[in-house]
């Protein structure tokens, strides 16, 4: 079953509201993502990128069309813990230490491993990672010292890192991230991008990453999906063919800026095309 895409959206529509006040959040969206890809969704607000992410995470249902995660509907994928969500805010539980926060998912929905086996192509995958792995992951994310601290004692960047570790700790097959770095300052943001890439490199999860930062999209992604509003739609899919690992040096390179310019150009064209 190697041919099953990690994510598949077929002619997906999502409409909010009724009648004349209805908003077309997503209109005829097709998207196929092979396993292990890092895909960014970029576009102005109202283009439906967050809606698309919520559809994939099973938090909303499409009005028309189909969403498939590894060949099954999102609800089934959630039941098998195939999906890890990193929301905009860290959403940690304030009464649990960082370690407890990131290990709590293991105590929840324990039947997931069994359900995961039943989904074709996952039989050989190991079940949820054990506790020592979580410690290791935390150390890797630079949270070794903070493991036993409460979220309130951490900086914003550390909290968001803990949220990312929590999601990776599920060993999800698809990681959906909704502008996870948007509330952070520039320096924290860049170091977190590095750490996200390190973790991703190791665990090779499929990532769906919503952002409105063009450099962030280029830096992180294999594929950048450019979206436009009114109605929310995909206008272009750009493969970013840059070598990995992508260190700081990449920022200075021309190829990096060419991709940035290309994406900005597509965003602008989508914007003007709509205005015309």
């Amino acid at each position: 079953m190697t041919g099953t895409p990690a994510l598949e959206l077929r002619s997906v529509h999502r409409i909010y509201g009724f009648g004349s006040s209805a908003t077309n959040a997503l209109d005829e969206v097709h998207l196929t993502v092979p396993p292990g890809r890092f895909v960014s969704l970029i576009g102005p607000s109202g283009c439906g990128k967050s809606t698309l992410l919520r559809l994939v995470a099973g938090l909303e249902q499409p009005d028309h069309g189909e969403v498939r995660v590894h060949g099954v509907p999102p609800a089934k994928a959630c039941a098998a813990k195939l999906i890890g969500l990193v929301p905009q805010s860290p959403a940690l539980l304030p009464w649990l230490s960082v370690l407890r926060n990131v290990t709590l998912p293991q105590k929840i929905n324990k039947g997931a491993a069994r359900r995961r086996e039943r989904i074709a192509g996952f039989a050989e995958r190991d079940a949820a990672p054990s506790a020592p792995d979580m410690r290791e992951l935390l150390v890797k994310a630079g949270l070794g010292e903070a493991m036993d601290k409460l979220p309130a004692e951490l900086s914003g960047g550390m909290r968001q890192r803990a949220a990312i570790v929590r999601a990776f700790g599920l060993r999800p097959d698809v990681l959906v991230m909704d502008e996870p770095f948007s509330a952070l300052d520039e320096f924290t943001r860049e170091s977190l991008q590095d750490q996200l890439l390190d973790l991703w490199d190791e665990l090779k999860t499929t990532v769906l990453f919503v952002t409105h930062s063009v450099p962030e999209a280029v830096r992180l992604s294999d594929t950048v999906v450019v979206m436009a509003p009114h109605p929310g739609r995909i206008v272009d899919i750009i493969d970013v063919d840059l070598p990995r690992p992508r260190g700081d040096r990449l920022f200075g390179e021309r190829r990096f800026h060419e991709y940035e310019d290309l994406i900005r150009d597509r965003l602008r064209r989508a914007w003007h095309g709509e205005a015309a």
């Binding site: 995470a57 959630c78 539980l93 929840i108 409460l150």
Partner: protein, 285 residues
């Protein structure tokens, strides 16, 4: 003695979830050290002295309204056992009633927050019950349940019921949307969500309710005793009997014992609250 002003950050019923770090950090060593300084306790002491002097002056001017302080003191010391026995009766009624009210209110809070149908059915009735003056119900309950301890437990429980129900329900529902979404994508079950997320989230609200409700439980027990006085003891009965026989020192000594009991109960809640939050902190250290 003034326990209340050390932790005034208890959340109000329907406001923001109390996620500010101070609630979850370890106690306040500074406020403990502060009690050594005279500036901390001297104003209170002076105020008490002024009040005592005013009382004493009033007792001399109006001997039929206020008993002299030494009389209250001697009543307390000579009949110490009498006050302790009655205090224990009232305390037992108050705490047992509170426990009953707590269990009922907590279970109902969980049900109302999980099942909208139950919320729509129960909440209006609970609100009506809350605005009904319990003092008015007390005699009816005495008629119904007799002069034994049962009507006292029922009234103490009823008076505690509503604040616990409202606060706990608010705490259970005040989990942030993003937290819920994270656990929704793991397909967390209703009970898992309740146990790992909603109930711990409600704990600060529950303690805010307990601070209100512990003194109230004594009020409930005393009101019930006064409605059925001359029966099975308790400080409410003692006040009722003594005032009918014009024994003012006994009346005021009983009131003083009630006040001390209220403060002690509040102190217990504060200690337990600190312990619980301390547990949140330290279980991982």
């Amino acid at each position: 003695m003034t326990v209340a002003d050390e932790r005034t950050t208890a959340p109000a019923t329907e406001t923001e979830p109390p996620v500010e770090p101070s609630r979850f950090s370890l106690g306040h060593p500074r406020s403990r050290i502060a009690w050594i300084r005279p500036a901390a306790w001297l104003p209170l002491l002076v105020m008490l002295a002024i009040l005592a002097a005013l009382w004493q002056w009033g007792a001399e001017e109006l001997p039929y309204l206020l008993p002299p302080l030494p009389d209250i003191g001697s009543s307390l010391t000579t009949q110490f056992g009498y006050y302790v026995d009655n205090a224990l009766v009232t305390l037992g009624e108050a705490v047992a009633g509170l426990a009953m009210g707590f269990v009922a209110a907590f279970v109902l809070a969980v049900l109302t927050s999980e099942l909208p149908l139950v919320r729509r059915a129960v909440m209006p009735i609970a609100v009506v019950l809350n605005v009904t003056p319990l003092v008015a119900i007390a005699p009816a309950l005495v008629v119904a349940f007799g002069f034994g301890p049962l009507p006292k437990l029922v009234i103490a429980g009823l008076i505690c019921f509503f604040p616990i129900l409202i606060n706990t329900a608010a705490g259970l529902r005040s989990v942030s949307q993003q937290v819920l979404q994270v656990y929704q994508t793991m397909d967390a079950g209703r009970f898992e969500l309740l146990w790992h997320v909603r109930i711990p989230n409600a704990l600060p609200y529950v303690f805010a309710a307990l601070r209100i409700v512990f003194p109230l439980s004594i009020v409930g027990a005393v009101v019930a005793e006064m409605s059925a006085s001359g029966s099975s003891g308790g400080l409410g009965t003692a006040i009722s009997v003594a005032s009918s026989m014009n024994q003012l020192p006994v009346v005021y000594a009983s009131i003083l014992v009630l006040a001390v009991m209220g403060v002690l109960l509040l102190l217990v809640v504060t200690l337990v609250e600190r312990r619980v939050l301390h547990w949140h902190d330290s279980a991982h250290n």
